[in-house]
Symmetry: C2
Subunit: 475 residues, 2 copies
């Protein structure tokens, strides 16, 4: 069984063969082919050696090509197979002969087609792999993205190193997270797209990540799961020290049908997954955006199970929406303490302002010193755990845009002294301004920031639930 | 009672007095004051006469000023009162003396403060208004936005005329809808911000809109409701011919507390409002964005209770998410009929494509003729009611950006022939591209388009629920 052999040996890879690289003149097909991965690895300056394999070519893109993996002159840590499905079994035999252990099958046309031929091929692959002790990743997958060795799976993603691992049955979702994550201050240790999970499943990769010193937070996109018990046990064990964030796709009838034709997965039962999340304390999300939102909180905020939020906001009808959104997303919005109220009334007039929670104090947007004083009072309030500053994107450039450094200092001053998190929600319901730019700027300056208040509240609730679960010893 | 007198007489206004307009040199305060509304109405070229009232000025901004509403030389359709709360009762007495009926109290400082003085003033206003038969709008409100007479309440909103009315207890939400709506093809008949609803409540305005020939769709943002039974009866009666879309704010504890300090409203009970929506068939939304999303569907799509959707999408993990989102939002995603499948297989190869639902046919993004043929087959499928084309914003400019006219023709060809709606969802989870621009372009070209798949599905479900309710005679 592959389970007896961890991913550890030969991983991360230093020597890679890519089987199925066309000669230069034909290599720029659309779709992800061996040729394309070869080019991507070369362009990203992969920190190791790459051997193109093609029996009909001597040189590809200026690199010496080999007729087979068996003819490559040094031991191979990793083989990427991009030949058509029917030709894959022979390449696997070659891998065994060459002593290569870790193999990615990039090609599709297997179990996910639902056709007898694809299933027959998968069966054969399994037999060969078990006989030769190969660790097969895929088929129908994009493989590895590992910034520390400049290995990537898509042209357009950045190599941003960090403590977040992502295991994904979907290459497309991996791409989305790799594009979106860096704008939320998220860097990656290892991203693994593993498609049909014929041999190596999430649990196998998780075992590796459990002891990977580079990985502190583990995110996953799952469609199927072959050994649920072993997986649940490992997640439960790992989650208190390395938070596990999971998007489980395909739990509706329509979603499950799509999953079966995407990775040939049986998507499983909603009740079973509900129980899984309850028992393991893993953080449940429903999109890559939500995954990034809670990961940002895990990366930036001091652990705390507190859910009592004070929102400093825009006033008017927005205050009502703020109250509703916080409550709907499971945060509490208590009245501030009498001391805090008294402290605020020393410098806040009640004419067209309000010190209820949400607080409506437009003055804070005019004077940084007023903002800081307000933050300090809220941070000292024993009834408050988290502070959210909610503002409209249309006012951001006018108010803080030109003095980001001071604004940042004001926030860091308070968070470092008080220890309570301050989170920004820069939103725009009118769709006239784009919060994304400002949120990136804030995140870049080290301030946790969200583009919707609902997203902020949702992430903070999940963050607090996680720390509550861990604090209670997972019961 | 004001209820005996509709809004009709003197509305829309042709003569307006604004009480509390400062002399020019002092008139540019922040905040919404009489001076600011005076300037806004002048700049928008209001199609009527405006009289500034100020006992200390002869001329304001080149316009003759009057010491009191009683000294204005012609009958007044409408008086806007912007003086401090304590001075409002005397102005109301003047309005009675001048024979003015419709009065907006812009000023705040009444019931919403929670203070005894504010409540006492409200009581006095009520007594005066009842005695003089005044129709009082507000206090603490922005009043009217009526494009047909070039009357507006905010500088930065456009005057876009159309069949949508909006009644809002929040001026801020009115502003958001006025900014956002036009980008979704939504023009307005009358927008009324009515704040504390001391005398005239939603029901009173609704009575006017019931017979307003300019209004075909009625949207509302409500915090409180004074005569629930009369309101429910009217909504139920009106909804089948003029769809009623309602955002009810403040149904959580925190939201209700905020509503009480925003407009002094008692926000009411969730169960009661659940029953209200069930009995009236009014369309329930939870934000201005959701309001605009369903209003666009009401404006653009042929009435139909059908919820069976075919999604032509991006494939891969996205197909799974698509299936899940459709199901979660209450749409059905049936397998397409054998005839449609056979028709598609005449020109669609199954290599890396799929004709399951969601359909994964990248070819349609390369060839407009393929797209049209696919649309035609789906439009003819008796198992399908709605077609959604789901694509990523990052590909939009490359694929359709340069041939919008042809793309538009392709879609209109199919919808006009088949009668089934085609809706676009141009989305971007990676946050690298901005769907908003493309969605505006599509909406401008007459194609219903959404920036999230969830938003599209949610709007289509509500649209279908509405037509189902109406078709079943509201039972």
């Amino acid at each position: 069984m592959t389970r007896d052999v961890g991913l550890g040996q030969g991983f991360p890879p230093r020597t890679i063969a890519i089987v199925g690289v066309s000669r230069s003149e034909h290599m720029y097909h659309p779709g992800y082919t061996g040729s394309r991965l070869f080019r991507i690895l070369r362009e990203s300056e992969f920190q190791g050696r790459i051997y193109p394999v093609n029996p009909k070519a001597d040189v590809i893109d200026g690199v010496k090509a080999y007729p087979s993996v068996t003819s490559v002159p040094e031991p191979l840590d990793f083989v990427i197979i991009g030949v058509p499905a029917a030709a894959v079994p022979q390449v696997l035999e070659d891998c065994i002969a060459a002593g290569a252990l870790n193999v990615q099958i990039l090609s599709s046309g297997f179990g996910e087609t639902g056709e007898a031929e694809g299933k027959r091929l998968e069966k054969r692959i399994r037999e060969i792999a078990l006989r030769g002790g190969l660790r097969v990743i895929g088929p129908n997958c994009m493989g590895f993205h590992i910034p520390s060795i400049r290995m990537k799976m898509f042209e357009e993603v950045e190599l941003v190193q960090g403590p977040v691992a992502f295991l994904s049955q979907s290459g497309g979702h991996a791409r989305i997270y790799l594009l979106h994550g860096p704008h939320r201050g998220i860097g990656f240790s290892k991203v693994i797209s593993y498609g049909n999970a014929l041999m190596m499943d999430a649990t196998d990769f998780l075992e590796y990540l459990a002891t990977d010193p580079e990985t502190r937070i583990i995110c996953m996109y799952l469609e199927g799961m072959k050994d649920g018990e072993r997986f649940a046990k490992l997640v439960r064990q790992l989650n208190p020290t390395k938070p596990v964030v999971i998007w489980k796709g395909g739990l509706t009838y329509s979603g499950a049908r799509a999953a079966s034709s995407h990775t040939g997965s049986l998507a499983g039962d909603r009740q079973i997954w509900d129980a899984f999340f309850e028992q393991t304390g893993a953080i449940r999300v429903d999109s890559i955006e939500e995954m990034a939102e809670v990961t940002m909180a895990l990366l930036r905020l001091k652990p705390s199970p507190g859910k009592r939020v004070a929102v400093l906001g825009a006033g008017g009808g927005d205050s009502v929406a703020t109250g509703d959104i916080c409550a709907e997303e499971g945060l509490e919005m208590p009245a501030i303490s009498p001391q805090t109220r008294a402290g605020l009334l020393e410098f806040v007039s009640l004419v067209n302002q309000g010190v209820m929670n949400p607080l409506d104090i437009p003055m804070v947007f005019a004077e940084l010193s007023t903002l800081q004083r307000t933050f300090e009072l809220l941070a000292a309030d024993p009834l408050i755990d988290i502070i959210i500053l909610h503002m409209s994107a249309e006012f951001f450039p006018k108010i803080w845009g030109h003095r980001m450094a001071e604004f940042r200092e004001c926030i860091l001053n308070v968070t470092q002294k008080g220890g309570k998190p301050i989170v920004l929600a820069v939103t725009d319901e009118s769709k006239t301004d784009e919060p994304e730019t400002y949120v990136r700027e804030l995140v870049g300056a080290g301030i946790p920031a969200y583009t919707t208040l609902r997203g902020a509240c949702r992430a903070l609730r999940r963050f607090a639930d996680y720390h509550e679960f861990v604090a209670e010893g997972g019961t």
